[in-house]
Subunit: 464 residues, 2 copies
C-alpha cells in the first residue's frame, strides 16, 4: 500500500504499535498464533495477559491501560464476553482500532446479538473503531503486518501486489491468499470484516479507492451492510478500479448458513442482486478461485476494448476446446472468434509448417519452436480484426523452452493483449513465471475464457 | 491392467517387443524422446533407422523387415508419406500393431486424405492394426509401457490405477495425466487415438470393459467414429462401468477446428449429442480437469443412492458457499440439503462447542479438533436422512492435524460416503494424501459439488 492521505482506518491498516490482548505462550492457542505472526513484523508489540508476567521473555501487561506508550491497534483474542470489557479498556486507553476475533456474537442468536450491542456501546462517542467481531484480522504484506490467527507454515501468504481483498469470511480470505500465493498474484492488503458491527465493506472500499498502490478490489460478502449505498459507491468506484465480488448466501440454505456464520441477513434475491451489480459495473465471481483469476486479469490489464478473440495453440485439442468455449453463450456471452485478415493468413503461412492451420484457431502443432511462436504473435499484433489473443501455452513440445513464457509476456504488451492457459509438467512454477512476466495465465482454457469475457464486459460497461 | 482374455489389441497394449522406426540419437527429435521413454521399460526394443549403424550403443536396422525376432508393436515416427511405406514393411514383417505419430493426413485436406487411404490399404487383409495416424501413442504404467513423444521430465506421468483414458488429442491426454499425477489419481492406461483411421474409441472401450483392472472409462473425443454404435455400446457398458466423456467440437468454430486437428466430423448438434449420451448413461465432463475430477469420484465409489447432502465445515464461509451450490439448479440439479434428524442434532450438540451450528451446514468453527470431527462424522453416518457428506476439510485451524485426512478417509467407508474439499497450506500434498486415504477430494467446493451431482445422477440412471 502506498497511501498518501491519512484516514481513520490508518491505525488498523498502518499501525506503528500493537497490543495483543490475550497473548499466550502455549502453542495451538490463537493468542500464540497471532503473537508469532505479529512478532515477524518490525513494530512495537505490547502483550496483555493478566495471568502472565512475561511471554517469550517479553513483559506482559495485566491490562492495555497499563501500557505507557501509544497503542494504535489492539487485537483482542479472548472469548466473546471478555472481549467486550477488553474493548472498554481500549477505549479508555485511547486505542484507535480494535480487532475482535471471538465468535459467539450476533451470529449465534439473541444473547449474542445483545453482546454485540454492548460491544458497540463500548465505543460509542469515542474515536475507537472495531473490526469484527468474529473477524480473522488483517494482512498487509508490503509493511509485514500480519494479525491473522493462522500460522504461516499452515497457510502460505501472497507477496505484495496491487489487489486489495475484503472478506466477510476468514477462511475464504485464507483460501484466496493461498491460491494467490501459489500462482504469484500479489496483494496490497487483505481485511477480514467478520460480523461488520462497525467497520464495514464500504469503509474499506473508500480506503482502498484512495490507495495508489491498489488497482483492483476483491471481495467476499455474505451480506451488504447497506445494499443501496454499496451499489452507489461501486458505481462511482468501478469507473476507475475493477471491483470483483463473490456474493454468497443467495439461496435459502445459503442465507440460513450465512446468518449463523456472520449474522448476515441477505435481503434480496440473487437475480435482483445480479442486476444491480451489473449496472454498477461490479464483476461477479463464483468462488475464491474465480476471484483470484479475475483479479489476476484485471490487475494486469483493467479492461479490453472488444471481444474478437484469436486462439493460438500448439495442441490441436486445446484449440478445439477453446473455440467451443469462446463461442459458448453460457461461458463467454461477450466473446466471438476473430477472423484473421488475408494479410495475416499469408504472413502466418510464411512462418509456420505447411500442415499447420492458419485459420482461427491457429494450430502450430508439436513441431512448434520459440521463434515460430514469437513471429506468429508479432503477426497477430498487427491485425485490426483481433482484439485479444488466447494462447494455449504448452511447454511439453520438444523444441520450445521456458523462454516462451517471457516471449508471450513481452508480446502481450502490444495492442492485442494475451491471456494464456499454461500446460507444463510443473504447472505451479510455470504459472508463477508467467505472473512475473506480466502475463495473465491460468491452468485451464475455461478459466482464460472466463477472464477474457470479464475484461470485455468491463470494457463494454466503461464505454456506456 | 490385469486382463485375463487375449485380444487383438494386446500387441498394442501389452507388447513384449517393440520396433521404433525413425529412432534418433539427437535430443529434441521426436524419435529420440520416444526412444528414451521406451528404454525406461524393460522389454525388447529394436531401433530402425537406415541412416545409422547404431544409436546409444544399440544396433540400428535399416528396415523392420531385417529384425529376426518377433515384433509385436512398431512405433513409426517418420513424416506422413514415409510412414505409409514403413507401415507396408511392418505388414510384410508380420507386426501386429503399428502406431503412426505423423500428422499431415486426413486432417489437412485432400492430399492428406488420400495418404490416409493408402495407409489403410497397406494393412488391408492383414492382421496388422493401426493406431493413428496423428496419434501420440500409449502409456500403461503398470507394465512401464510409454510410447509417448513427450519427455517425462516435461510432463509428469500418473501412477498405476483403475481409470482408462482414451483421447483423440495427445495434448489433452497429457494434460489429463499431469493433473491426475499432481493429485494422486492412478490410471490403468492412456491411449491417444489421433485420426482413428483403424483402431477407434469403440475397439478400446471393449478392450477396457474386459480389463478387470479398469473400473472407470475416461474419454476425450472430437468426433464419434459411429455415433449410433457408440451410444449402444455405452448403454451396455455403463451399467457396470462409469463412462466420463469430454466431447468437444460442438460449436461451429469448434467443429471447424476439430476437422483441421484430427479430421473429425461432428455430425450432430450439441443438444442432440447431450440427450443421447444421457440416455446411454454417459457422464459428460467439460474439460480435462473436470474429467480428472469425475473419474476420481467414480473410481472410488461408482455411484450414490440419493442426493441428500449434509455439509460439514470448520470454515463458516465455505459452509455458506457449499449450501448455495448444493441448492443451485445449475450446478447441482440432483442434490438437495439433507435435514438432520432430532436425534442427530442432539448427538451433535453433545460433542461440539455451544456456539456451533448443528443445522445443515454444520459449522465446527476454527476451534475444531481431530476428535471432534471424528465424532461428528460418526454421528452423521447413522442418520437415515443423509445420503452423502460434503466435508470442507481445512488443515489451517490450530488444533487439527494431518490425521484428519486419514479420519475422513476411514469414516467415508461407512454408509454415507464423504466427498471433501481440501484447503491446506500445501494443497497438492494434501490432495495426494487424501487420494491415498481413499477419499475423493478436490481443491474447491464447486468441484466437490459437481462430483457429488454426477455420482447421484449415475445412481438415478442405474435405478431406472
Amino acid at each position: 500500500m502506498t497511501r498518501q492521505m491519512t484516514s481513520r482506518l490508518d491505525p488498523l491498516l498502518r499501525p506503528s504499535s500493537i497490543a495483543l490482548i490475550g497473548a499466550s505462550a502455549k502453542a495451538g492457542k490463537i493468542g500464540n498464533a497471532v503473537l508469532t505472526n505479529l512478532l515477524a513484523g518490525d513494530r512495537t508489540v505490547y502483550l496483555v495477559n493478566p495471568n502472565e508476567n512475561e511471554i517469550l521473555g517479553r513483559k506482559c501487561y495485566s491490562s492495555v491501560k497499563e501500557v505507557t506508550g501509544v497503542v494504535d491497534l489492539a487485537i483482542i483474542v479472548l472469548p466473546a464476553s471478555a472481549s467486550v470489557s477488553a474493548t472498554r479498556e481500549c477505549v479508555a486507553k485511547g486505542v484507535r482500532a480494535v480487532i475482535v476475533s471471538a465468535s459467539g456474537f450476533s451470529e449465534t442468536g439473541k444473547a449474542g446479538l445483545q453482546l454485540e450491542r454492548e460491544l458497540l456501546d463500548a465505543i460509542r462517542g469515542s474515536e475507537t473503531r472495531i473490526l469484527g467481531p468474529n473477524a480473522m484480522g488483517v494482512f498487509v504484506p508490503s509493511i509485514s503486518l500480519d494479525t491473522l490467527f493462522i500460522p504461516k507454515d499452515r497457510s502460505r501468504r501472497p507477496c505484495p501486489g496491487t489487489v486489495a481483498m475484503i472478506s466477510q469470511s476468514g477462511a475464504v480470505a485464507v483460501s484466496f491468499m493461498e491460491k494467490a500465493a501459489a500462482s504469484g498474484l500479489g496483494i496490497s492488503a487483505c481485511v477480514c470484516v467478520g460480523n461488520k458491527s462497525d467497520i464495514d465493506e464500504m469503509d474499506l472500499m473508500q480506503y482502498f479507492e484512495e490507495d495508489s498502490g491498489t488497482n483492483c478490489m476483491a471481495m467476499y460478502l455474505e451480506s451488504f451492510s447497506d445494499g443501496r449505498r454499496f451499489i452507489e459507491l461501486s458505481k462511482k468506484m468501478s469507473s476507475s478500479m475493477p471491483i470483483v465480488l463473490v456474493k454468497s448466501g443467495g439461496t435459502p440454505a445459503g442465507a440460513r448458513a450465512a446468518r449463523s456464520h456472520t449474522g448476515a441477513i441477505s435481503a434480496s434475491s440473487d437475480p435482483v442482486v445480479n442486476g444491480a451489480l451489473r449496472q454498477a459495473g461490479v464483476t461477479r465471481a463464483r468462488e475464491e478461485e474465480d476471484l483470484v483469476d479475475l483479479c489476476r486479469a484485471f490487475s494486469v490489464m483493467n479492461y479490453l476494448r472488444g471481444g474478437r478473440i484469436c486462439i493460438v495453440a500448439s495442441a490441436g485439442g486445446f484449440g478445439v476446446m477453446a473455440s467451443d468455449l469462446v463461442e459458448s453463450n453460457e461461458t463467454a456471452p461477450s466473446l466471438s472468434m476473430a477472423v484473421p485478415s488475408e494479410k495475416t493468413s499469408s504472413a502466418l503461412r510464411s512462418v509456420v509448417p505447411d500442415f499447420t492451420s492458419v485459420q482461427n484457431p491457429i494450430d502450430l502443432t508439436a513441431g512448434v519452436t520459440d521463434e515460430m511462436y514469437d513471429e506468429v504473435l508479432a503477426i497477430l499484433q498487427t491485425d485490426p480484426g483481433i482484439d485479444a489473443i488466447l494462447m494455449s501455452l504448452e511447454l511439453q513440445p520438444p523444441n520450445v523452452t521456458r523462454q516462451l513464457i517471457e516471449i508471450a509476456g513481452r508480446r502481450s504488451a502490444g495492442p492485442k493483449p494475451i491471456v494464456a492457459s499454461v500446460f507444463a509438467g510443473d504447472q505451479a512454477t510455470a504459472l508463477t513465471e508467467a505472473a512475473s512476466a506480466g502475463l495473465p495465465a491460468f491452468p485451464t482454457i475455461r478459466r482464460c475464457v472466463r477472464a477474457l469475457n470479464a475484461l470485455v464486459e468491463r470494457g463494454m460497461h466503461l464505454s456506456r
